[in-house]
Symmetry: C2
Amino acid sequence: MGLNDIGEFGFIRRIRRGCLIRPEGVIQGIGDDAAAFRTDGRLVSLVTTDLLVERVHFLRHAISGRDLGHKSLAVNLSDIAAMGGTAREAFVSIAIPDGCELAYLEDIFQGMKDLARNYAVNILGGDTTFSRSDLIINVAVYGMVAENEMLTRAAARPGDVIFCTGCLGDSRAGLHLILEGAPVDTPELQALLAAHCRPEPHLREGRLLAAAPGVRAAIDVSDGLSSDLGHIVEESRAGARVYAARLPISDNLRFFCRRFGRSPLDYALSGGEDYTLLLTAAAGSAGAIAGAFQTAFGRPLTAIGEITDTARMELVDDAGDIAPIAPTGWDHFKRP
Amino acid sequence: MGLNDIGEFGFIRRIRRGCLIRPEGVIQGIGDDAAAFRTDGRLVSLVTTDLLVERVHFLRHAISGRDLGHKSLAVNLSDIAAMGGTAREAFVSIAIPDGCELAYLEDIFQGMKDLARNYAVNILGGDTTFSRSDLIINVAVYGMVAENEMLTRAAARPGDVIFCTGCLGDSRAGLHLILEGAPVDTPELQALLAAHCRPEPHLREGRLLAAAPGVRAAIDVSDGLSSDLGHIVEESRAGARVYAARLPISDNLRFFCRRFGRSPLDYALSGGEDYTLLLTAAAGSAGAIAGAFQTAFGRPLTAIGEITDTARMELVDDAGDIAPIAPTGWDHFKRP
C-alpha cells in the first residue's frame, strides 16, 4: 500500500495517531484550519503552517516574486481567518536553488511584507537554506482568538445557513490561464489571474463573523467548495444542501467560461484556492449576520444553502432536481 | 550581485529590514535562536522553525526514517533550549516526492513522536503536500519562557566564562562517515554516526541554566563553534578567547581522527550540528553553575574560555600561543 492508495487525507489520519502527548490545554490539534492551544493568558493561541513547493504549487516563470510572497503568507493568514482569529506573527522558511535571482527573492519578501503590513503581522523569524532543485517556501503564522469566539469545522448544526464571504472558482480559472498559457488580454481575465496569484485573506471578515452571535462553523476554501464543505459536514457529523443558483459566481468567471467553453458551476464547486470563508450560522441569526457583513464590507455575504441532518452533500439545480455532490477538490497524492 | 556573493547571513540582513511591523510586544525578532514575543499572559512565547531539504541536509538512503524524524524535531527543540525555554507544540510540514515509501514516512513521524514524548511536546498540526523531486520537512516549534530567564545571544559581557554543555565535533565526524561511505565498524564510529543522525536537544540543560543566577548569553551549536560563538560575540559587541586544551573532545572523536588522519581541534572548532549549548556566565557564578550542572546531569559543564572586551575571537593553543579564530562554519550560499 502506498500514498497513492490512501491519499492525502488517509495519510493524515494515519500519522495523527500519537501526536497528542500532553492533552491539557490543547483545544484543537491536527484536523482544522489551525491548531488552538492555551498558554498562560486569557486568549487562545492559534498556529497554522503551509508549505509551497515549486512545480507543485507554483511555476516560478509564471508568478512574480511579489505575488509569490503575497500568496505564501496569504494562505496562512486565511487559515487564521477561518478560526476567527487575529494574525500576529509570521515565520518564513525558504530553500533556494542555485541560479534563483536575488532580486526575485527580495521581491518574495517584499510581497510578504506588504501583505503583513495590511494586517499588522510581524515577520519574526524563519530559516534560510539551499535547495538542490526547487524553490521551497514554508510559512507558519501565530494568531490569537478569544476561546468563545473561535470557529471550528465541527460546530455546524442541522438547520444552519451556509454562507460564503466571496466568489468561488475565480482562482481555478486563473490557474487555467497559467497552465494553458492563454493570453490574459482583458480586464476580466486579469482579475482572474490576480485572484489566483494574489488571494486576499479574509481576516477582517473572519473577525466580524467570529464576534457575531449565531455564527457556528467555518473553514477557508482552499481545496474547493465540495471538499471544504465536506470537511465541515464530516467534522460536524451532518449533511448539506447547496443551491446551484445561489453560488457566488463572478462576472469575470462567467466571461472566462464563455470564452473557454467551461461550466461556471464546475469551477464554483471544485475550484480551489479561493481563500474565501465558508461558514454556517443559526438560521435565526442569519439575516442580522448578513446585514452586518454588508454594512461592514459593502458586499453581500452569500447564503448558498443549509446544513441538514442527513450524511449527504446535495446540490439543488435550477430545475429543483437534487443530485449528490462528491468531494472533487484537490488531493496531493491520489492518482486517477 | 547574487546570493553567492552576500552569503546566507548577508541575505538575512537584507530581508530582515521591514519585517517588524508592529513592534509592541516583540522582544526578539529575526536574529536569535528563536523569536520571542508577548501574548496576553505572563510568559514570553517563543517560536522557531527549521527546514530540512533532501540532498542538502540529509541523504535519504543514508538515514533511517526514525532518525530523520528525530533530527527534524530535535534541531528545533535545540533552538528553544538555547533560549532557555520549555518546548510545547510542534508543527510539521512535509513535501513528499513520488516513490517515497509509506513505511519510511510513517517512521519519520514515529521518530518525531518518540522524541516529542521525551519532552512533553505535542505535534499539533502541519501541512502535507507533494514534491516533484526532494523530500522536504519543515518543523516549527512553539515554546514558552519567563522573560527574566530568557537567554539571548546579545547578553554576554567581558569577563564571562564561556561554557559548553556537551562535546564538539562528533556530529561532523558522523557526517564524514556518511559522505565517505566509510564502514561504521566500531562502537566509537557508531556513536559518532548517532551524534549526527540523532542529536539530543539540550532542553533540560537549557532550563537549568536559564534558571541559574549569572547565566547570560546562549546559543546552540548548529553551524560550528567558531560560527556560533561568533554570533554571540557579534550580537554582544564583545570578543572571545578559547583555550584549545579545554575544548570538550570525545574519546570517540579522538578515535575517529586517529583512524582518518584528521585534527580533533578542527572538528571541535568548525564542525556543526552538535546541538550542544554554548553559553556565557558571570565569572563569580561560574563555579556554582558548573556544580549544579554536574549534579543534575552527571557530566561536566565545560569551561572553554572567556568573553573579552576586544572585537576578536582568539584561540590559545597548548603552547600558550594566541591565534585568531575565523568563523569557518557553514554558510548555505557562499562558494569558495
